[in-house]
Every structure is written in structure tokens, then in C-alpha cells.
């Protein structure tokens, strides 16, 4: 406390900034307006009725415009739904990343519900989220740029090319998944955003592969890529088989009577038609990358 006072006293003669509150501002304001009424301090610019009205009108206009933009934007992109997918915390992200690389020990794949709405990802490790896919996408582009740089093949345009390539592959994969889901007529409660989230989980494996390739050379790259492909495959099949498809069958009431038959039928449908169809499609983009 004492030190601050002495330093303030020592810097008084040469202040670092103009002190416009109080007397000095008043005199400059008075000099500017000759006909203005005397003794107008600078703060009464705000209490002038006309400018008050203008400020109030401007703020109401801004809030109206914001409301309109929100309403129109909400029609095209469901913002409130998107907020659910970004409600994550550090522990969830850490556990999810571990699960993506090593899904073999996880037993309970059920997504817990809370009065018919899925619980936020912060509270349930099995819930899909969009944070990891988005961050993984950006990190993958940066790591790919790094890998190109170590091979002296880097130009700034190549970074943009990698980004648009990866985005196009993601769109193709989501469309292929949607088409396959439509053809096999499995009624799920998977939304398109869920599919984007699941397709985005593969970037984690790709990043691990590229980093291993940078550290350990060609052999390390192929081995890690193989491991990550198998892990993502097991992760996807376990997740879809145990949660979304079977839950719908349970809701329809067919599970109670012929439990074994429905289980077997869905298992057969999923692993023979869908399971054989999706993971090879999913693994394909990994093989064709850098």
C-alpha cells in the first residue's frame, strides 16, 4: 500500500494518460460550444434528453435485431441442439479419448436418459459430443501440415487443400452412412448431428497415427494406424449395437416376447449388412490419407 502511494506521487508530474474527467474536460467542452449553457461538465452529455432517447432507441433496435437474427438462424441451424453437444468438461474429454483408443474393456455402453432427453455429455461418457470431432479436425489439419513440413513439402496452399479434402471426405462419409441407414430401414433415433459426431471421432485415431509416424517412422505409422482402425471399428459397432438400435426395438415392445429372436435378428442385420458395410467405408478414408 505504501509503495503504491509513493509511486503514484512520483508519477504525478508526468501522467501516462490524459485525465478527462472533471475540470479539464469541462473546459475543453465549454471551449467547443460557445453558445452552450455555462458550467456543463462532460458527463451531462449522457444526461442530455435527446441523446438519452437516441441511446435507448438504439439499444432497443439492437436487441430487436438480435432477436430476429436468432429466430431466423434457429430455423436453419438448431442452435439449442448444438449447445447440448458442446456441454463437455475436461474429465469427459480425457475419458472419451481413452475410450476411442482402447474400447475393449468398456462394458456399459448405454446412454443414460433423463426424462426422455439424453443426459449432457458432461455426465455420461457414452453420450456423443461435437467438441472432440471439431477439435480433432482442426488438430489433424495442423498435424498434417507439420508432417508435410518435415518432408519439405509444405506450402500454405497445401494446408487449405488438406482442410477442404478432409471436410469433403467427412461429408461423403456422413452421406454414405445416411444412405446405408435408409436402405437397411433401421429405425433409430440417431440424428444427422450424431452421425457427424461419430464420423468425427476417427480424427483422433488419425492424429495418433500421424504423430506415431513422425516419431517412429513408416513402420510405426502403419502399426498405429492399424490399431486405431480396429479400435474405432470396435467402438462404433459396440456403441451402435448396444444402444441405439436395440433401444428402439425395446420401445416397440417386440423385445419382451421374443427377446432372443429380435436380438439375433438385429444383431444379424447390423453385423452382416450394416456392420460389414459401414466400417470398411469408414476405414477407407483413413487408408487414403497422407
Amino acid at each position: 500500500m505504501r509503495m503504491r502511494n509513493t509511486s503514484a506521487d512520483s508519477t504525478d508530474p508526468s501522467p501516462l494518460f490524459e485525465d478527462t474527467s472533471g475540470g479539464q474536460g469541462a473546459t475543453s467542452y465549454n471551449r467547443g460550444h460557445e453558445k452552450g449553457p455555462g458550467g456543463y461538465p462532460a458527463q451531462t452529455l449522457l444526461s442530455d434528453p435527446m441523446s438519452n432517447l437516441a441511446m435507448a432507441y438504439g439499444s432497443s433496435l439492437a436487441s430487436q435485431g438480435k432477436e430476429m437474427v436468432d429466430k431466423n438462424l434457429d430455423r436453419f441451424i438448431p442452435i439449442s441442439r448444438l449447445k447440448y453437444y458442446f456441454a463437455v468438461d475436461t474429465i469427459y474429454v480425457g475419458k472419451k479419448l481413452g475410450l476411442l483408443v482402447f474400447p475393449y474393456m468398456h462394458e456399459n455402453w448405454e446412454v443414460s436418459y433423463q426424462q426422455d432427453t439424453p443426459v449432457a455429455p458432461r455426465f455420461d461418457i457414452n453420450a456423443p459430443d461435437l467438441y472432440i470431432p471439431v477439435m480433432g479436425f482442426i488438430t489433424y489439419i495442423l498435424v498434417a501440415g507439420l508432417a508435410l513440413g518435415t518432408q519439405n513439402r509444405f506450402t500454405p496452399e497445401s494446408l487449405g487443400m488438406q482442410a477442404s479434402s478432409a471436410l469433403v471426405w467427412l461429408i461423403i462419409e456422413v452421406l454414405a452412412t445416411l444412405l446405408s441407414l435408409y436402405l437397411v430401414t433401421v429405425n433409430t433415433d440417431l440424428t444427422t448431428i450424431d452421425l457427424v459426431a461419430f464420423s468425427g471421432y476417427k480424427y483422433v485415431g488419425m492424429i495418433v497415427g500421424v504423430v506415431a509416424g513422425l516419431l517412429f517412422g513408416r513402420m510405426g505409422y502403419y502399426l498405429t494406424l492399424l490399431w486405431c482402425c480396429v479400435s474405432i471399428f470396435v467402438f462404433m459397432v459396440s456403441r451402435w449395437e448396444h444402444t441405439h438400435i436395440l433401444r428402439h426395438a425395446r420401445v416397440k415392445g417386440t423385445l419382451t416376447r421374443n427377446k432372443n429372436k429380435v436380438c439375433f435378428k438385429f444383431h444379424k442385420k447390423l453385423t452382416y449388412k450394416q456392420g460389414r458395410l459401414f466400417p470398411p467405408i469408414k476405414l477407407l478414408p483413413d487408408c487414403f490419407r497422407v
Binding site: M161, S164, S165, L167, V168, W169, I171, I172, Y182, L183, V184, T185, K273, F288, R289
Partner: protein, 82 residues
């Protein structure tokens, strides 16, 4: 394998055009893929073939007019800008 967003748009337009030009009488019925040959019964399992035929028919009906517009725009742009 460098794809751009432009090539994705081109691919989408070409694929949709390819599905939309499959003629119902002259071609699809000849190979057993007509619109009335897909629905086997009224079970709750349409099957993949029925879904595919449904998809082809709906692409043909829904995308006819937008495809006309998009194709005309593509032709004009390619003529102007090469």
C-alpha cells in the same frame, strides 16, 4: 486424393443427373427394377431392393425441376468461363 468442395458439388450434380435419367418404362422395367416390382408384400420389412427403387423413384420426382435449373446454370457458367 485431393478433393475440393467444388469437386464435391460436381460429383453430387453428376450423380443426381445419373439417377434422374433412368427411364421408368424403357429401362427399369426391363431389368426388373420398375416401380411396381419392388413392393413384395406388406410386411414391416421393405427390404433393400424396395428401398433402392423407392429412392430412385423419389429422386426422379423430387429433383426433376431443381436439376433443370442447376444444369442450365452449369451450362451457362461453363460456356462463359470455360
Amino acid at each position: 486424393m485431393a478433393f475440393t468442395l467444388y469437386s464435391l458439388i460436381q460429383t453430387a450434380i453428376l450423380c443426381t443427373n445419373a439417377i434422374a435419367v433412368l427411364h421408368e418404362e424403357r429401362f427399369l422395367s426391363k431389368i426388373g427394377w420398375g416401380a411396381d416390382q419392388g413392393i413384395g408384400g406388406f410386411g414391416d420389412e421393405p427390404g433393400i431392393k424396395a428401398q433402392l427403387l423407392n429412392l430412385i423413384r423419389s429422386v426422379r420426382t423430387v429433383m426433376r425441376v431443381p436439376l433443370i435449373i442447376v444444369n442450365s446454370a452449369c451450362i451457362v457458367l461453363l460456356l462463359l468461363f470455360g
